[in-house]
């Protein structure tokens, strides 16, 4: 038998699928809550604090605080200990903590179109406006979580799963039978290699928590007792840090050898430094076309601009409140609060944020309205990335001038 992980959007019939799947396959259900509680008891961090690792409240622009890293390390440890057993159905956010090397895991994602999710919420007695807010919040958390762990903004990306079940066109029964059938497939059967991968995962988690307890934050991997630590932070006294890390890790039972190496992040600061002055470092992209906005985000990343993404006006405004981006790239046509409304509100409350309108359905009249409302620029889709970079640079110059 194998392990099934279920990662799902809110209001996607996930509870029904979980319950029925456990019954059909005779598996043990391991809920997110159980893993959180176990992590809490292993670390003596409160349950509530650990759960904050699933949220991205502090700032989407900054790296996780040390506390979150420690929580995640302990979530990994809790999960790794549970994986000693087979025949599990693991639900919720921890699903993404399992490394791909553990091959006897069937990774399932349950997701549905927004309309279907709103319908589900309605049958559960949640009014539409409230439901929309919950869904957006949940999606944002999912996106941040997946991005933190695998560097992918889209939590529903097919590449992350063995099966993505579209719940708007699949009944609970069909979903359960599909998943349980796939879980019998030889591709996800336990093997010596996958059992070893579980042991490696456990050792790496033990090392990671030991390091986190000492205040260190490094990427840990383990293979048959050999531990590799990747330092992703620029440290001048590198040798000293390496010795300190080795001294901690060498004491851990089951560790046969420790190696330290430098990761990409070690050299990252210089790149940011070079570009810091020319381009805004906090860009918020607001567009309901997910694919477009993600591609754009990646392309900006290649130009050393970190960007956050919002898929609708409402979440955009809450990000503006909490994280104060420098520049906002805004689509006009969006469901809910539209772009013009967002522009008005931003300019009324945070006039220092420069807003670049990027729209596919523009007109001269719209342009005039936006510019009168204080937009920095008005660009048409499809946009030339060089033109957009140039505009961002100009916006940054303006910000820097005003700040000076």
């Amino acid at each position: 038998m194998s392990v099934i992980t279920l990662f799902s959007g809110s209001f996607c019939d996930n509870e029904k699928v979980e319950a029925s799947l456990v019954e059909t396959t005779g598996s043990t259900l391991v809920t997110e809550q159980e893993i959180v509680e176990k992590a809490s008891s292993l670390s003596s961090i409160g349950v509530k604090k650990i759960k904050e690792a699933f949220l991205e409240k502090t700032s989407i622009f900054n790296k996780f605080t040390h506390e979150k890293e420690r929580s995640i390390a302990y979530l990994r440890l809790a999960l790794a200990e549970m994986l000693a057993q087979d025949n599990l159905v693991i639900t919720g956010f921890p699903a993404h903590l399992i490394p791909n090397s553990i091959s006897h895991v069937l990774r399932v994602c349950l997701i549905a179109e927004l309309k279907h999710r709103l319908g589900q919420a309605a049958t559960l007695g949640t009014v539409e406006k409230e439901a929309l807010k919950l869904i957006q919040e949940n999606d944002k958390n999912c996106s941040t979580w997946v991005n933190t762990l695998v560097g992918n903004n889209d939590p529903w990306d097919k590449a992350l799963y063995d099966i993505v079940v579209p719940m708007n066109t699949t009944s609970v029964e069909e979903a359960v039978s599909l998943i349980s059938e796939k879980s019998q497939s030889p591709a996800v059967a336990s093997s010596d290699a996958s059992a070893q991968a579980v042991k490696d995962f456990l050792l790496a988690a033990r090392v990671e928590t030991a390091l986190a307890d000492e205040g260190h934050n490094v990427v840990v991997s383990a293979k048959a007792g050999k531990v590799v630590l990747t330092i992703n932070k620029n440290v001048l006294m590198l040798k000293r840090l390496e010795e300190d890390l080795q001294a901690i890790v060498n004491k851990i039972e089951g560790v046969e050898a420790v190696e330290t190496q430098i990761g990409k992040g070690f050299y990252q600061t210089d790149i940011y430094r070079q570009f810091d002055f020319e381009t805004p470092s906090k860009v918020l992209l607001v567009d309901d076309e997910r694919e477009f906005v993600q591609t754009l985000s990646e392309r900006l990343m290649m130009r050393e601009m970190s960007s956050a993404v919002a898929y609708d006006g409402e979440s955009a405004l809450s990000i503006v409140d909490e994280d104060e981006p420098e520049v906002m790239i805004l689509d006009l046509k969006m469901p809910g609060i539209d772009g013009i409304e967002v522009l008005k509100k931003v300019k009324a409350t945070k006039p220092e944020i420069e807003v670049i309108i990027l729209t596919g359905h523009g007109s001269e009249a719209d342009k005039k309205v936006c510019m009168d409302l204080g937009a920095f620029a008005y660009l048409q889709k499809p946009v030339d990335i060089d033109l957009l970079s140039k505009t961002l640079k100009l916006a940054n110059d303006k910000i820097k001038k005003q700040g000076a």
Partner: protein, 194 residues
């Protein structure tokens, strides 16, 4: 002193005083009484000159400490630690330009992209912290120090002492008045048992 040494001495003073950006090779030449061409003949670029200046500071600090430690005897680890703290402050007072250079931002920025600069800085800090660490470890052996973790304690003590140096070179406070309290505080940290 050779011409090259004169140039270096002038370069350290100028880099320390003005920072990398605002120090010019022409001024280095003027200050050391040679022509601009001579400066460029010995040191190919401003960056190269800066690196050699930093290396000189590194060698200077290490040598000064070696000499101090070889000329003094200490009864215990704690006494050694106190001696080092005093000597660090003394050195920062007499060789102020070395510490001004070390407390400027440029070398750390350069270290991100320049391996040689990185290595000089790493050596300076490693040898300084090593000296503190040796004292803590020694004190733990002879019982004069009871701090838990030699390595981390050494880093914390060092950053405290170096912070006082910063107070001094930037004229933030009359640090002479802090000396006794600094020694007392370090003593408290070193003798504190968890």
């Amino acid at each position: 002193m050779s011409k090259k040494d004169d140039i270096l001495k002038a370069a350290i003073t100028l880099f320390a005083d003005r920072g990398f950006q605002d120090a010019s090779m022409t001024e280095v030449a003027k200050m050391s009484g040679v022509s601009g061409a001579t400066v460029f003949y010995h040191f190919k670029s401003k960056e190269a000159l800066f690196l050699i200046a930093l290396e000189t500071v590194k060698d200077g600090i290490i040598q000064e400490f070696d000499q101090y430690l070889s000329e003094h005897d200490f009864e215990s680890g704690l006494e050694l630690a106190e001696g080092i703290i005093s000597f660090y402050l003394y050195l920062a007072g007499t060789m102020e330009e070395w510490f001004l250079l070390l407390h400027s931002h440029y070398p750390y920025k350069l270290a991100l992209v320049n391996e040689e600069c990185r290595s000089h800085l790493e050596k300076i800090y490693n040898s300084l912290v090593d000296i503190f660490e040796r004292a803590v470890a020694l004190g733990r052996e002879d019982g004069s120090i009871s701090a838990g973790d030699s390595r981390k304690t050494a880093l914390v003590i060092f950053s405290m002492v170096d912070g006082v140096v910063r107070f001094k070179i930037y004229n933030l406070y009359d640090t002479g008045a802090l000396f006794n309290e600094l020694i007392n505080s370090c003593r408290k940290i070193l003798k504190y048992k968890m």
